[in-house]
Symmetry: C2
Subunit: 326 residues, 2 copies
Amino acid sequence: MKIEIKQLRKKILWTLKSNFSVKESNIIADYLLWAEMSWLRTQWILKLTWSEPLQDIQATWSILIERETKLSQLINANKQPAPLVSQIATKIAIKKAKKYWFGIIGVNNTFSSNWAQAFYVEKIAKEDLIWIVCSRSPAATTWFWSIDPLFWTNPIWFAFPTQEAPLVFDMATSAITWYWLVLAKARGEKIPEGVALDSLGNPTTDPEKAMEWALLSFDKSYKWSSLSMLIEVLAGPLVGSSWIDNKTFSEQWWSLFIAINPNLLIDTNVFKTNCSDLIKKVKASRTWKNIEEIRLPWERSLKLYQECVNSWFIDVDDATLLLLWY
Amino acid sequence: MKIEIKQLRKKILWTLKSNFSVKESNIIADYLLWAEMSWLRTQWILKLTWSEPLQDIQATWSILIERETKLSQLINANKQPAPLVSQIATKIAIKKAKKYWFGIIGVNNTFSSNWAQAFYVEKIAKEDLIWIVCSRSPAATTWFWSIDPLFWTNPIWFAFPTQEAPLVFDMATSAITWYWLVLAKARGEKIPEGVALDSLGNPTTDPEKAMEWALLSFDKSYKWSSLSMLIEVLAGPLVGSSWIDNKTFSEQWWSLFIAINPNLLIDTNVFKTNCSDLIKKVKASRTWKNIEEIRLPWERSLKLYQECVNSWFIDVDDATLLLLWY
């Protein structure tokens, strides 16, 4: 259903007001609207409707800095919501990488997972830094050839500046995202074959059974499992959090933010020009038969976002909207 | 064919002596023997036999440091061979990460690609650092849905310390490695279907045609292409090298070495204990039917290496050995 952006923002602010200040609510609303306008349907207002609704978050305390060096900071979020704390961590990483050329920020104990990092990535693009973020959550994905859930969908995000829009990457290491399951369940739909196991270790296409047990890794091989393990190590053991925990779904969300100043190795402006040239060459390469054009990561999201801005309207998933409204 | 390690070393030193000092030859031989003992058959003495034989390298000059900060160094290798310069870069990265907590070293203009980084990774494991290396070379792999070669097989290596042996990961982002092609060609074998294109953009199982044109990315999707692009950016535009160049095969090998001191966020000893626990939990997970045990990256290589050490013999590919000997 098409809905005016302004009207949706109002509804989001109203939903959040019981537990957050106006300022905090607006920061969170910025994120949610951006995610929907960028077509990241699994990371937006669904967050207000599912089993851990954002508006019910009760932070235990304000955030606490547990360790700090010139290049690093370890933040205990004390159950503050991820979009608030992630924005703080982003700002600190930028500050350190601007001043000291490198910044690494561990964030633990946020409430709920880290969501679409691309939001923060876009914000810091103007800062001309290379940006790598990864996060972990309770176990939901198997190691290759295993039937036990060990890792979360362990996503990794990275971005680099160019002379035009920054290039943004957003990849889960699991076969499908967790919110694909949530959405399929809400809609009463099946999930594809070969992406999930039930609690007996058998393949399943039932999203509910998959949620009870495990997803497979993206290519079912050691490669995505390995990448997933690297992410688990960076956002788990390295920030002193938990790892390969069972499905407790409490206090188990952790992230690592890394900002690298390209000026360590090259003049930033030259780096950006180089990256623009690289992208131009990729775009100019010839396609397979029946494929119209070469696509870049994030290209579609950028386009859809701009269309929403121009039209003032968002096309929202009916089922999700109903859950939010009633 | 089984051959005594000592005898093979002698042959390697003899092959290298025309162009390298005894000290340099021994450093290179260390690498080649280690790679074979670890079963990395695509990265070992094949390097002495194929189209760019290591022993023919004529370095233009000694290495030159082009840029340096406390945290970084940009090295121009002046066509010195990769295993020599990579060892220098490794040492510098370790020194910086020990002293300043982070080290990032760009290496450009080595002769030939960067080979099995796991060798250096193992060396620095005792140094208790997190280690990420990636490298690029001339174009050999397509972007997803493209028929043009844009990237090399763009491999990424990473490692982290544990209380036992370090965990080492070694992954090409292409469907198969370049040296799979080399070996298949030498043996007169086909390559699997669905991994390569000929110069008309059609699928091919002929290794020679694939070498003339392009490999596909590992899963044919945007995910491995994206990872490959990140590696191209880090080992190309960021170190001021070339990128998406055509198949010139000269002066086009570049690498980026990153060392992160875990002590930025946590006590190193706690980190290592955490990582050991994580690995234990992965190993203890239950397997698919018909799968005997959960395997970890590098586990098989470690075992094979140890078997060679114990027996004093290496089982070497006959075709490659013949090329070396005659």
